[in-house]
């Protein structure tokens, strides 16, 4: 079902606030990855506030949907969203990456309520997600498993091992979303390791492919709904995004994959996001 105008406005407003909070948070701790958090904001927000069947009051419900952040470096945005959703207090966010915090630099399922899989080393999210999807099938459960991957992450060979396996096992309860922001740590994806036609690659591996604008909450929502109707094969949503989205001087810049934000940059970024500090 398409998003109502009210839901669309709500999600867009939430995305803007999450971006503001992210810049504030990463400025305050002077570490962390802004670029990939900003490119995946609409995808993760739409999932957690519109689609995922999760309950912070019963975080281990065996029937809950599973979300895996394959690109674990977008942890700051995941943490903000989990906290906003009620999995842990918002005050905890300030402890991100600090000693004794439950919020690790990359997601740790053992420490953080709501994190389904420890990630960070790229490429492991998809095969683990496939395992979760197979467990659902064996138990006759209808939960769905969602894996968000970066486009740089697709360069890991294990991604394609898992892509073959998911097709072989006809994992139609598994949905992959690719945050196709075109930038990785050392430069653009085109410079570092050209990925060619990403959609065609997945099609060739036996997947159903949906291509969307990953910053449009309606498009994200519709694509997730459409994917759920596809039987007999897994679906991948290739979501075109902009790394650093919302902060002009971060957009499309590999330097902002992960680097500390200066005072001036902080002020300018917040101004662009509608806040004077």
């Amino acid at each position: 079902m398409s998003l109502s105008k009210a839901r669309k406005d709500y999600l867009e407003g939430l995305c803007l606030r999450l971006r503001q909070d992210l810049i504030k948070l990463l400025y305050s701790i002077q570490t962390g990855h802004p670029g990939g958090s900003l490119s995946s904001t609409e995808i993760m927000t739409t999932l957690y506030f519109e689609k995922l069947r999760v309950d912070p009051k019963n975080p281990k419900d065996p029937n809950r949907d599973r979300f895996i952040l394959g690109k674990g470096h977008a942890a700051p945005m995941l943490y903000q969203i989990l906290s906003e959703r009620g999995f842990f207090p918002q005050d905890d966010l300030a402890t991100l990456r600090q000693l004794d915090s439950h919020l690790q630099g990359h997601p740790c399922a053992k420490k953080t309520c709501g994190v389904e899989l420890s990630t960070g080393p790229l490429g492991l999210g998809l095969p683990a997600g496939l395992g979760m999807a197979m467990a659902a099938r064996l138990d006759g459960k209808d939960f769905r498993t969602y894996v968000l991957m970066g486009d740089g992450e697709l360069q890991e060979g294990i991604v394609w091992e898992a892509a073959m396996s998911a097709a072989k096992f006809a994992a139609d309860n598994l949905l992959v979303i690719i945050d196709n922001n075109g930038v990785q740590l050392d430069g653009t994806v085109a410079e570092i390791m050209p990925m060619g036609d990403i959609a065609a690659k997945w099609q060739a591996f036996g997947w159903n492919v949906i291509s969307i604008d990953g910053h449009c909450v309606e498009a994200v929502s519709d694509a997730i709904d459409l994917a759920a109707t596809v039987k007999g094969k897994p679906t991948v949503i290739v979501a075109k995004t902009v790394k650093g989205k919302g902060v002009s001087f971060m957009e499309g810049k590999s330097a902002w994959h992960g680097k500390p934000i200066s005072k001036d940059e902080y002020v300018n970024a917040m101004k662009e996001l509608g806040v004077n500090v």
């Binding site: 389904e116 095969p127 395992g131 467990a135 659902a136």
Partner: protein, 315 residues
């Protein structure tokens, strides 16, 4: 010494299938070596609970991690060499890090895939696995232990590496009386002059070595350390105190394996003269299993020689 011989892998395959009958949550994965690892026995009986992912070990282990998060008890199967080399990342980053209940069955460990050569021998797997926090490391010595250890790791909650062999080896343990408990070493022969601490098939060689030594009037105690991590500190320290000298024997590099683990315990708990028998930090080669073991020092004669050497140091 019993004349009855059985292949460790056959016992493992049958046990895994039996466990599958007993517990519907047990699932198995393989990376295209199911007819070698014998996970295929499980796969034939439980095709829906069996995932052959092709030649993709890391993918297999990461899938196993996902299955475990949802309450399954996955046994991931491949050659020991590839379990640690190809699947190292998911073993560490998903399974050990989060303490997931995955069983990593490394078949063809040591030199047991003898004719395939050094590329297929596993002499660094214990070192890697025991260096991972949360990982339990179990090494199987004979067909009786193969069954008991497989059952024990299935019942154990948490990540475990089960070190298995391709080889057909003699039954040396008595199924009626042998007790297998993870983390507990077993004294198989009493002796007061020194203790031979062995793991895996080297236990059989250690028992033979004790016979050789007995003929020379040397009374060697023989201890089976099937659980290399967590290691049985109390037993090792007691052996060091009571016998005053230790020889370790393992089908693994002398670096990082059983010998290292025992030295870590004794250097702090009860330092005594000690000798380590294992592959001497060299790549091995193709050949007949027993001849290969002998060439690389993994023989009863070499264990006995090290026993005599350590006794001289004991003074």
């Amino acid at each position: 010494m019993s004349a009855v011989k059985k292949a460790i892998r056959d016992v493992y395959g049958d046990t895994l299938a039996q466990l599958g009958r007993e517990n519907p949550d047990i699932v198995a994965l393989d990376a295209d070596v199911g007819s070698s690892s014998k996970s295929i026995v499980f796969g034939r009986e439980f095709p829906k609970r069996y995932f052959n992912v092709g030649v993709a070990e890391a993918n297999m282990v990461a899938m196993a991690a996902g299955l475990a998060t949802a309450g399954k008890i996955p046994f991931a199967n491949t050659f020991a060499a590839f379990m640690v080399l190809r699947a190292a990342d998911p073993v560490r980053s998903l399974i050990a890090y989060t303490g997931l209940n995955v069983k990593l069955a490394g078949t063809y460990a040591g030199l047991s895939d003898s004719y395939d050569g050094a590329s297929h021998h596993a002499i660094a797997d214990i070192a890697f696995m025991r260096a991972l926090p949360n990982m339990t490391v179990v090494s199987v010595s004979d067909p009786v232990e193969a069954e008991l250890a497989t059952r024990a790791v299935a019942e154990f909650k948490g990540p475990a590496y089960l070190r298995l062999s391709r080889a057909e080896v003699p039954v040396v343990l008595d199924k009626a009386t042998y007790k297998f408990e993870i983390g507990k070493g077993v004294t198989l022969r009493e002796g007061s002059d020194l203790t031979i601490v062995a793991t895996g098939y080297m236990l059989v060689k250690a028992l033979e070595a004790a016979e050789i030594l007995a003929d020379k009037g040397i009374r060697a105690r023989v201890v089976n350390i099937h659980t290399i991590k967590p290691i049985d500190r109390d037993l090792l320290i007691a052996c060091a105190r009571e016998t005053g000298a230790i020889v370790t024997a393992e089908e693994h590099n002398v670096y990082g394996g059983l010998g290292s683990a025992v030295a870590e315990v004794l250097s702090q708990g009860c330092p005594v003269p000690m000798e380590v028998v294992g592959v001497n930090d060299t790549f091995t080669e193709s050949g007949d299993y027993e001849k290969l073991l002998a060439k690389y020092g993994l023989s009863a004669a070499n264990i006995a020689a090290h026993a005599e050497k350590v006794l001289k140091r004991k003074g």
